[in-house]
Symmetry: C2
DNA sequence: GACATTTAAATGCCAGACAATTAAGTGACA
DNA sequence: TGTCACTTAATTGTCTGGCATTTAAATGTC
């Protein structure tokens, strides 16, 4: 009697997966709202006619998706989690990174996607960026001038600059989506070794970009971004060629 | 002795979370590669000095993130999962939708983000779209002309058209990122009731957009998109006003 | 009234067992 | 020799029952 509408060929999914889905749907549909407490594990076990370990597996699944949080002690339990932008961005970043690394995406494809999306917010950033964003960008540029910086740190600073740019658009949804795109590039960028010459070239382009934003000159900012894209692609090609020459 | 480097105030995370993290890191770092089999639950339990239920909770966490899949039977077990674009997109969509609904984002903010990102791939789509994409877009336009379509179906068709546009850019990474942005708008769009007049207006704009892409005219496509954005915003404002007038 | 103590309700974790599933091995029979 | 049924072993899925730990509230004590 428990399996009513799965007559077709439901592949007999795990009970814990079914229960997780059931609760997830309740959250998504709004039947359970943020910070609301779920029944205790024992109660859920009874409701779904399964054992407590099975319920626990289901709850862990939901916890892994940041849909719930659990607290111990009396009056503890599982609570529907209010997903913050920050956490959502972090998750987006890991998911995007995973996709890019596990499917070994070509550098130029990822690069094209990233710059295309960044171009999407340049006009808005030119209008709306405030002193904080500009200062953050300039601070990163200063860091990038430090010749003792490792390539990895240089890369990280590059990412930070671009994230400041994205935030300058003043649209949190846009920031959320772009964070994944920008950060996920970092592992790929880390293939590149930055010479002194290429670093100063990048710093110059970053400066031009920041100046353009400060001047609210969207056109200039866009061409700086274009130049940055072609140069990044060039560096990527070189790195790839060097790798190939070195015998994989 | 088990808590060495968590001296600070590690909030004593769950064992299952720690184990999940440990395995996740191994996957992310490439120590475990796609389709590789993890040790059995019993072996993992021994390795980590925990019980099997605890290991299982950890594995369910990973399964919830699509990092592993499990098979039953002899020579079954947990396998590192090769994340496909399709699945990744689906996850991205649910995550984005959740973020937008749970934090009740303002319509105009989400709308701005979506159109900004879509504008990012218009130039590429104008260059690279092939007959398939154009046909898909025209098919959706035809559907949208059907007056018996419910508002929800009209909305779904709108989303389908835009996804075809995005795919026309021929960059899977871009498609991945934009899928979340475009689809997550659907619940918000469903607030809107489409009059006959607004439907025909939208169809006209969609047609102009598709024509421009077919003619590889990026400029024209961009202005069609701009017009679509302002009209969508207008409809959103109306819907919101009507709601407010109806007493919430 | 403030502080210490107890208590109850949860989650966290474990041990051991049995059921279900699946691929590989084994053997009988044509 | 080849094929089909059967057995076997490994592994995940699930259950039962229990103990440890944590936490807030209730209770008691000074």
């Amino acid at each position: 009697m428990p399996d009513n509408e799965k007559s077709a060929r439901a592949k007999t999914t795990d009970l814990s997966a079914q229960i997780a889905k059931s609760i997830r749907d309740a959250i998504l549909s709004g039947d359970l709202s943020a910070d609301e407490r779920l029944p205790s594990e024992a109660e859920l076990a009874e409701q779904f006619s399964v054992s407590r370990p099975t319920v626990r597996e289901a709850l862990k699944r939901l916890a892994a998706q940041s849909l719930i949080r659990t607290e111990r002690g009396a009056f503890g339990g599982a609570f529907v989690r209010r997903l913050s932008y920050k956490e959502a961005q972090a998750q987006n970043v890991t998911a995007s990174t995973l996709l890019l690394t596990i499917n070994d995406i070509r550098f130029d494809v990822a690069c094209e996607a990233r710059f295309a999306m960044e171009r999407a917010c340049i006009a808005l950033a030119a209008q709306r960026r405030d002193a904080t964003h500009l200062a953050a960008m300039r601070a990163e540029i200063d860091r990038q001038k430090d010749p003792t910086l490792t390539d990895e740190d240089f890369c990280a600073s590059d990412v930070a600059l671009h994230r400041a740019l994205v935030d300058g658009a003043g649209n949190p949804v846009l920031s959320y989506h772009l964070a994944g795109s920008v950060e996920a590039m970092q592992p790929l960028m880390n293939m590149i070794t930055f010479s002194t010459r290429s670093r100063s070239r990048i710093v110059a382009l970053h400066t031009a970009l920041t100046d353009a934003l400060e001047a609210a000159d969207a056109m200039a900012a866009e061409s700086a971004l274009d130049a940055l894209q072609s140069y990044t692609l060039e560096l990527g090609r070189d790195a790839l060629a060097k790798r190939a020459a070195a015998g994989r």
